[in-house]
Subunit: 475 residues, 2 copies
């Protein structure tokens, strides 16, 4: 910046228009701040344009496609059900555009100034924004860094976004892979494995030595369901290299002689925070050992007037976290005490059936020294699941044996994602077993599975046969 | 009973094997009672055989059928989608049989003795059971009356169960009505109106002067959706007579000159409790003015060793109520203090989209003298609803303005039934607005609509434009 150059004055500058950034912008505007939101690519960020939303368009159509093949027994007959990925891509783009226009309109209604460009901190209260030929300098009272993260392929794999795909490019495929290799064991890997399996791709998952990241009962059920869906899983290895050869992707595995051959490889890996090229080192914002921006519970960085939210901060790279942090930072800046607490973060996966989880897993509870009691209820014994023809999965609740407080809730099955809010709210309100046992659950409904899981604690689920104590321990 | 005749000795006799009866039986058995369950028709009662389960088989297939017609934009193409009611009936029977066998197996596993026959109280501790030629007398320590209710057609209408149908026979139709007239404004009338509308019947509803029984905002949205689906509603009248003439049903309306003509008429009306012919007058069990068996909160009748549950007692004739009362009675009999409290009864309707509600409606809250604050969030502004293409409906929360306690939650839209348990649990745990605002909601999910409804209380829903106070009052 040339000395003497005119700086525009702003209350709050937010860098990055992903879910964290735009939630922060709108909440700050609601609280009376004058807000400028800077985005160098597209409003909505990775979540809307390349992540959560596109992937859910895929998982929802996959679920619908599979359901439609099984409707004959409920009296619905159709001649031939075909899937057309190109058409789905058009729907995806329409949905994304419509949601993006919605965010733009909300920003306008809240008088949030939208700027296109790349931002770079010049000092603790000045930022430069470059957009082609245009260069502006803004002086701010507060700033929020919400620059997100980017996929980070492991060594030996270089996505060409055509046959070797990362979590951004997998959702933009227009041609169905014949043989899809999926590398990873996180929820994104699973969602894509199940979706392309539904569409008709031959899917093989490659996992390292770690298990899936859910409660052990869910991991076990998941493996059964993967097998049933003929999704092959190769465990305890890593991909050492991958290259394309014509229409094939050839993959070498550590400690395995034979190569794997697919038509496509999808690599789901932990993303890298986008902390480079925004000048945070220049102004001395502290980072954690793993390279994330260090923040306190109000999302404040080591510079008190600068906040950071979302994937640039430590913790799971989930929109739900970024959104909460965005509101928290906006409220803190507006002088309202607010905290982001991720103890009861709902973790969901739009697999088939879906998975949803909150609080401690069985292993985590044991590791933290709790003596636990557990109840589990299979949806195969739930009347509404029978009507829907969706009898796979279960609901599992984990309680502290001493004070009967709920520690965790884990679900795999139809309705799990909507039902997990019952778990999150119960955990937040420190529910005891009786708080789940006393209320009424609609009949027939999947919700009753939650009641019966809690009843199973005392061996009193109505729709489970009595089991001996010895048998129960095996559940 | 001839003096000297041998009476079999039993701990607990339950009359009626519907949801209330069999839940009572199994819970009592779990608590160590020796139980005899008497059913004169089919195990599972009205709910399983003629009510909740069959109707949900219909509503689920209707929802699926409609969804399948709108899949082309998500890339799923099918040549011709046809609905076959006869095939659905076969599925319904299979589902019912399978669930009934499940209950039988559970009774066996819990050593519940199942008896077929009609029961009649002989004295305060003796009951006669007749089954064809067989007649047995049982002496019991405790008894539970769970004889349910039966449809009760209004004067002037006599169901022939072929063209003039009640809530039992409507779910057994094998041929699709061309023009279905639906008389009633309860949830069963609505479920059947939406289901047959989906299948392709021309549906007309006839309602008396009362509105639908939901919160006024839901009633209003429901009317819009009925209209959009071309379900005609004739309000503020009653059917004075109905008769069949060949393939037609001719219906006369009060204060209307023209008759209505349909091919079928479905009459949904308040059922009558089955209290006749079981000898309760003989042994002096008290009834309420409206003819229900009088019970206390433990479901105990005026005879301390005899309990009554379900539709024979006052309150909404819902399985959820019967189930809770069944467990309560069983626990009370086993000496465990237990209460059935229906303050936060979830009310659901499997309409398109579904409706779910708990706690006070806006009008009820006002009538009870609360000063209220409300938040409402439309699913048209929810990202996940956009992905699903299910943008109709909203979530509404009602709070006590003074102490910020949740009073009621009302939902119409995709996911409402699973989500309502968040409302019921929150109401039971006396949640305040901050208890809904603080927790985390998966992204993207319908659940976020619940958060934004709570945020709308303070005009802080992120995905709603700021509105003036004046505009808010119109919500």
């Amino acid at each position: 910046m040339v000395v003497g150059e005119l700086a525009h004055e702003r209350d709050l500058i937010i860098i990055g228009g992903g879910p964290g950034g735009y939630h922060a912008a709108i909440r700050a505007a609601q609280l009376g701040q004058s807000v400028t939101l800077i985005e160098k690519e597209q409003l909505g960020g990775v979540c809307l344009n390349k992540g959560c939303i596109p992937s859910k368009v895929l998982t929802n159509s996959a679920e619908t496609f599979i359901s439609m093949k099984k409707t004959e027994e409920i009296g619905i007959e159709s001649d031939s059900v075909q899937f057309n990925l190109r058409k789905l891509q058009a729907y995806k783009m329409r949905t994304i555009n419509q949601l993006r226009e919605g965010i733009k309109a909300l920003c306008a209604a809240n008088k949030v100034e939208l700027l296109a460009g790349s931002a770079f901190f010049l000092s603790e209260d000045k930022i430069g924004v470059e957009n082609g030929e245009q260069y502006d300098v803004f002086r701010f009272k507060h700033a929020i860094i919400a620059t997100g993260s980017s996929p980070n392929a492991p060594a030996g794999i270089k996505p060409d976004h055509h046959r070797i795909l990362d979590s951004w490019s997998i959702t933009s495929l227009e041609i169905l892979p014949e043989k899809l290799l999926v590398y990873g064991n996180d929820y994104i890997a699973l969602e894509m494995a199940f979706a392309f399996n539904a569409y008709g791709s031959e899917v093989t998952m490659v996992m390292d030595q770690n298990d899936f990241s859910f409660d052990l009962s869910i991991n076990r059920e998941l493996k059964r369901i993967l097998k049933k869906n003929q999704i092959k899983v190769i465990k305890s290895t890593n991909i050492s290299s991958a290259y394309t050869d014509g229409e094939a992707v050839i993959v070498s595995l550590e400690n395995k002689e034979d190569s794997l051959i697919g038509t496509h490889l999808f690599v789901s890996s932990i993303p890298t925070p986008n902390t480079a090229n925004i000048g945070i080192e220049r102004i001395g914002i502290e980072k954690t050992e793993s390279g994330f921006i260090k923040v306190n519970e109000q999302c404040q960085t080591s510079k008190p007037n600068i906040f950071a939210i979302g994937d640039v901060t430590e913790g799971p790279p989930l929109a739900v976290k970024a959104i909460k942090q965005g509101k928290t930072a906006a409220e803190a800046i507006a002088g309202i005490f607010s905290e982001a607490d991720f103890r009861f973060l709902p973790i969901v996966a739009h697999t088939r059936p879906p998975i949803a989880s909150a609080g401690l897993s069985e292993q985590e509870a044991i590791d933290q020294g709790y003596e636990i009691s557990m109840g589990q209820f299979p949806l195969s014994s739930n009347g509404y699941a029978a009507i829907l023809g969706k009898k796979e999965g279960f609901i599992k609740v984990i309680f502290d044996k001493e004070n009967h407080a709920l520690l965790g809730m884990h679900m795999i099955g139809s309705g799990a994602i909507e039902l997990i809010s019952s778990g999150v709210l119960s955990l937040e309100m420190v529910a005891r077993d009786e708080d789940l046992l006393f209320p009424l659950y609609p009949h027939p409904s999947i919700n009753e599975g939650l009641l019966e899981a809690a009843e199973a604690l005392k061996n009193q689920a109505i729709h489970l046969p009595l089991v001996t104590k010895k048998e129960r321990l095996k559940v």
